[in-house]
């Protein structure tokens, strides 16, 4: 075979393998470095700080774990959350993340490296992203080869779909969960390939770690059984499958039940039933195989086959019946809303209200995956071409994850690994094909023989065209050629150097574009801590808006330690983490009624809200207001969800339509509905807002509406603190009047508004009304 470009011929095979493996190690190191480095934008642009909302709780829990030890953490009852109920943290948390940080902390301190626990928490996600790249390399290596593995590792290292959840400071369960997901899958594939109980057990151990770390472990719980089931349906049952699955399921399930938050769910809830069912089916199939190998009668085999199917069907119906009877718990709401997409909106507004539970529009897919999103289908087709057992896994994973990512934005995270793997398979096949120096034998003779008839045909079709008789001869011809080319098992290869260069330059260009895109997306979209906001001054320099911490530190330094702060649940963890005060509700949204109570207090008038506040010992109320700065994630924009959630519990007292104008618009200006204007939330947001503008019209920059000149008045609350940019406003709840008057009249008295004797008639008419 001729070569397209010269290759060195004086290399021993040993040199080539050694160099290749050295290059692999170096490349993996560079990939890890890139993965870590690109996640540090947040630390460099801002500071080493915990981001967003949930991470603040994880951080707080980790601090307890690090300072008091694991047993104290396990038994930790937190009285300051969900006041007055409190929260049993040990039993309501996935402890994997905190335990991981705790182990790292203790390890480093044992080595006398005095690292602050905060820095471990901040840097945990970037660190684990390097491990994820390695796990993806191992996984993809099983699918194709090392070069595809390296590409996949590079892809997952910098792809925004994964970075969005794992920048430095985003100290959340997902930070370690994706590594565990990929590594468990790798071990499963390895166990299946080798039929090894050792790898099956290792898969179970990492499955346990995953269960301890993230609620999304259910994805593994269903992916592996589904893979096993499809393999059986395709007639690919083997003792390897039996050994791998049985060892994984038995050990994995038993160990997963050791996590208190999971408990007996693996044998009682519907999410886990698929794994149990496949386990049972596998035993039956294995038994059948055993019997078949000892019995030769054809009838008996048929009988067994029938028995197998009927047992399977019966088992399925038994499971449905048990679910119906309530012996097996039905699907949990969050899981159910994945399948019946209208379910959450109807029944559990609290799930529907979370922004990361919204469905995904296509720009998010492109933003998060860029060119991988369209190379990915090609990779899946290549898996179909090979169709070994492990390729079936990738195919199932691709379909399931595509669906889930479409339903919920946050599940883009589970789609990202498979997209990286599949597109790495496609891309590396492309590079393999066009980098190969071998040229096939020039088939000039055969084309010479073949070309005259095709020329004749083409000219004939041209003639046909001329004679106004359009024929489909040319496309038909091309198609037959194509099929023939695909069908022939003759030499494969690329002719010439220019074609190679064209493809390779193209590919390099695409990869470079991908790197630019990822860097841009990471730095501009995914690296904001959301605790600290950044804006640009007119001269282009960065201006930091630090209102949240300003407010939380004010609370910390100016209020008694037992003060109860009421806010919408989004800010519960931050208040607990930064201000260290009691909160009514937080991001662990386990008690819908409690949240609805807060929603009711926020959405009803002061007179109605005051008894609720007093009954819950609320000292301070905190609202987020973006109207001055144009910060759109504020409470007035979330207000309708508060109304909806409150309406779910008190449909008589709170009704969503009352908060719209008669025209059905959501307004905050003069036209706003009375219920809106009287609501505590509205009053607290716009209290004294118009005074800022002097004589000019007060403008709410988020809603782009003019706020009434005469702002709302407050009788039951006092403004306690408002931050620099008015983003956080804190109000103190007044105590009952000492003289027993209601606060409204007491207030009026204090302001010196006496009953006016000049207009007695008016007031009498009013009292009659």
């Amino acid at each position: 075979m001729p070569l397209a470009f010269p290759l060195p011929s004086d290399l021993s095979p040993a040199t080539v393998t050694n160099t290749a493996s050295l290059l692999r190690i170096v490349t993996l190191c560079f990939v890890s470095g890139a993965a870590i480095a690109s996640r540090l934008f947040a630390v460099i642009n801002f500071e080493s700080i915990i981001h967003e909302f949930d991470p603040w709780f994880n951080y707080r829990a980790t601090r307890v774990l690090a300072s008091k030890g694991f047993y104290e953490f396990w038994n930790w009852f937190d009285p300051s959350a969900w006041y007055p109920l409190g929260r049993v943290v040990g039993g309501t948390v996935y402890p994997g993340l905190m335990a991981t940080s705790g182990v790292i902390y203790n390890f480093l301190h044992a080595l006398n490296i005095p690292v602050d626990i905060r820095n471990i928490c901040v840097m945990l996600a970037p660190g684990f992203s390097a491990l994820t790249a390695w796990a993806t390399y191992m996984f993809t290596k099983e699918m194709k080869d090392e070069s595809a593995g390296l590409l996949a590792a590079a892809f997952i290292g910098i792809v925004p779909g994964y970075i969005s959840r794992s920048v430095a400071g985003s100290y959340d369960n997902e930070a370690i969960a994706i590594f565990l997901l990929m590594f468990t899958f790798y071990l499963w594939i390895k166990a299946l390939k080798l039929g090894s109980a050792l790898f099956g057990t290792l898969a179970a151990v990492f499955y346990f770690y995953m269960v301890a770390a993230w609620g999304g472990y259910v994805f593994i719980t269903n992916m592996i059984p589904l893979h096993g089931l499809v393999l059986m349906l395709m007639g690919r049952f083997s003792s390897r499958l039996y050994v791998a699955y049985s060892s994984w399921y038995a050990i994995g399930t038993l160990s997963s039940m050791q996590v208190p938050f999971v408990g007996f769910q693996p044998v009682s809830t519907s999410e886990h039933m698929a794994a149990l069912g496949v386990f049972g089916l596998l035993q039956i199939v294995a038994f059948t195989q055993l019997v078949r190998s000892h019995v030769s009668s054809k009838q008996f085999q048929n009988l067994l086959f029938l028995a197998l199917i009927s047992i399977g069907v019966l088992g399925f119906f038994a499971m449905v019946g048990l679910t119906y009877k309530g012996k097996i718990a039905p699907w949990t709401g969050r899981f159910y809303s994945l399948w019946d997409t209208g379910y959450a909106k109807k029944h559990i507004p609290i799930i529907a209200s979370v922004s990361e539970h919204q469905p995904t529009a296509w720009p998010s897919f492109f933003m998060d995956l860029q060119f991988l999103i369209f190379v990915f289908p090609a990779g899946v087709v290549l898996c179909f071409q090979q169709l070994r057992d492990e390729h079936i896994f990738v195919i199932i994973y691709a379909v399931m994850a595509s669906y889930f990512a479409g339903v919920m934005v946050r599940l883009m995270l589970t789609l990202t690994p498979v997209v990286c793997v599949a597109s790495a398979i496609a891309f590396s096949t492309l590079l393999d094909t066009y980098l190969d120096a071998k040229e096939p034998d020039d088939a000039e003779e055969s084309t010479n023989v073949a070309s005259p008839p095709s020329d004749a045909q083409a000219s004939a079709s041209k003639k046909n065209n001329k004679s106004a008789k359009p024929a489909a001869a040319t496309p038909g011809n091309a198609l037959t050629d194509l099929v023939a080319a695909a069908g022939k098992t003759k030499s494969k290869g690329i002719y010439g150097l220019d074609t190679r260069l064209a493809i390779i330059m193209n590919a390099i260009g695409m990869l470079a574009f991908f790197v630019w895109h990822c860097t841009w997306a990471t730095s501009s979209a995914y690296s904001s801590p959301s605790v600290v906001l950044a804006s640009t001054n007119p001269d282009g320099s960065q201006h930091i808006i630090d209102d949240f911490r300003e407010a939380y530190y004010w609370l910390r330094q100016n209020t008694p330690e037992t003060a109860v702060v009421m806010s919408w649940w989004d800010y519960g963890y931050q208040i607990a983490g930064m201000a260290d005060r009691y909160t009514l509700v937080d991001n662990n949204t386990w008690n819908n009624t409690h949240i609805a109570t807060v929603g009711k207090a926020m959405s009803s008038s002061e007179e109605v809200a005051y008894p609720i506040l007093r009954k819950h010992d609320v000292d301070y109320v905190l609202v987020i207001f973006g109207g001055l700065l144009g910060y759109s994630g504020d409470d007035i924009n979330k207000f309708l969800w508060m109304v909806r959630i409150a309406q779910g519990v008190w449909p008589e007292e709170i009704q969503e339509p009352n908060y719209f104008t008669p025209q059905g618009e959501y307004r905050v200006d003069d036209m706003a509905s009375p219920a809106m204007k009287n609501s505590l939330m509205y009053k607290m947001s716009y209290y004294r807002f118009s005074e800022l503008f002097g004589n000019a019209q007060a403008l709410d920059r988020v809603r782009q509406q003019n706020v009434p000149k005469v702002g709302p008045t407050l009788d039951y609350l006092d403004e306690a603190y408002t931050t620099e940019n008015w983003i956080v406003r804190i109000y103190e709840v007044r105590k009952e009047d000492l003289l027993g008057r209601d606060l409204k009249s007491a207030n009026a008295f204090a302001k010196g508004k006496k009953r006016k004797r000049s207009k007695p008639a008016v007031s009498r008419r009013r009292s009659l009304k």
Partner: protein, 312 residues
């Protein structure tokens, strides 16, 4: 001063008698309408008389074709179904709550009096006397859960003496279709099995699913986004929004690009003629370049701050 309560006391039996009379009339009207009282301005006053020991839910609608109220037509069957479910229970409870419909053309005055600007609307008038008396104002039913009968029955049940025994009608069409589909499948399985066992059938299915899902199909399903915009534009502005047609365009773009890659990987290397292969390499490479640029342009429409471009 004593006279006033006395007078009231005297008039009480009278009022009771009157209301009992009205009640009989309403029961008769409900029976005549098959569970729903067809109201006009006069009977509306009767039904919502200030002294009533019954509650009622009143459906305001405009069913006349000239009014062009398509939501009214959509909601009306649900209303009738729920009312029918209510009319089937024992009369002791049934006659304590009435279902009534007032068409716009029958009682414009009432619509004006209640300043109703849109139809359909459902108001619940609670009882003002008797054991279930409350002094609450009429409640408006919230259509946020759609026009389906289930949420309607569920919500109204909060205001009726006993819950409305509404069960959704058996969906015969769906069952027959699925049974027929299964039968057809069983009959044709002999001919279908080669197709079903071909991996490429499954490959096509998988790829199509992935393409459609990755183009935001579920978003349009869940959000019920329209196929095209009101002004005829097919691409929605905004990063977190899209129309139905975008799913088709984007999946076509992704599909073309993926197909081009497959051509480069799976077909072109097997070409026997060097010249033809070269042509195809350049052809598909340029297709990738052009379609990719178009994709970037489309993405720039959605995300205006995107700083990159390829050709266009």
């Amino acid at each position: 001063m004593i006279l006033l309560p006395l007078l009231a006391l005297c008039s009480l039996p009278l009022a009771l008698a009157a209301s009992a009379d009205t009640h009989q009339k309403l029961v008769a009207l409900a029976a005549a309408g098959g569970g729903v009282i067809k109201l006009d301005s006069d009977t509306f006053e009767l039904l919502t008389t200030p002294n009533r020991d019954w509650s009622s839910s009143i459906h305001f609608t405009a069913l006349d074709i000239r009014r062009r109220c398509s939501p009214c037509k959509e909601f009306n069957p649900s209303w009738i179904q729920v009312a029918k479910a209510w009319s089937k229970i024992r009369s002791a409870e049934r006659d304590r709550h009435f279902f009534a419909t007032l068409d716009f053309d029958e009682g414009q005055a009432v619509f004006q009096k209640l300043s109703l600007a849109s139809a359909p609307a459902v108001y619940i008038y609670p009882a003002t006397e008797g054991p279930r008396a409350t002094n609450k104002a009429p409640l408006k039913y919230d259509f946020s859960q759609g026009f389906e009968p289930e949420p309607l029955a569920q919500q109204l049940s909060n205001h009726t003496p006993i819950p409305i025994p509404y069960t959704p009608p058996f969906d015969w069409a769906r069952w027959i279709t699925s049974v027929a589909g299964l039968l057809a499948f069983a009959v044709t399985i002999r001919f279908m099995s080669p197709i079903l066992q071909s991996r490429w059938t499954w490959a096509i299915g998988t790829i199509l699913t992935a393409l459609v899902m990755n183009s935001g199909y579920m978003f349009t399903r869940i959000r019920n986004s329209p196929f095209v915009g009101g002004d005829g534009s097919w691409i929605a502005g905004g990063y977190q929004n899209q129309f139905g047609q975008e799913v088709q365009v984007i999946s076509l773009v992704y599909g073309t690009l993926g197909f081009a890659f497959l051509m480069l990987i799976m077909i072109i290397p097997y070409q026997a003629s060097g010249q033809r292969q070269r042509l195809q390499v350049y052809l598909w490479s340029s297709i990738i370049m052009i379609v990719y640029s178009i994709l970037i342009v489309l993405f720039k429409v959605k995300n205006r701050g995107y700083p990159f471009k390829i050709l266009l």
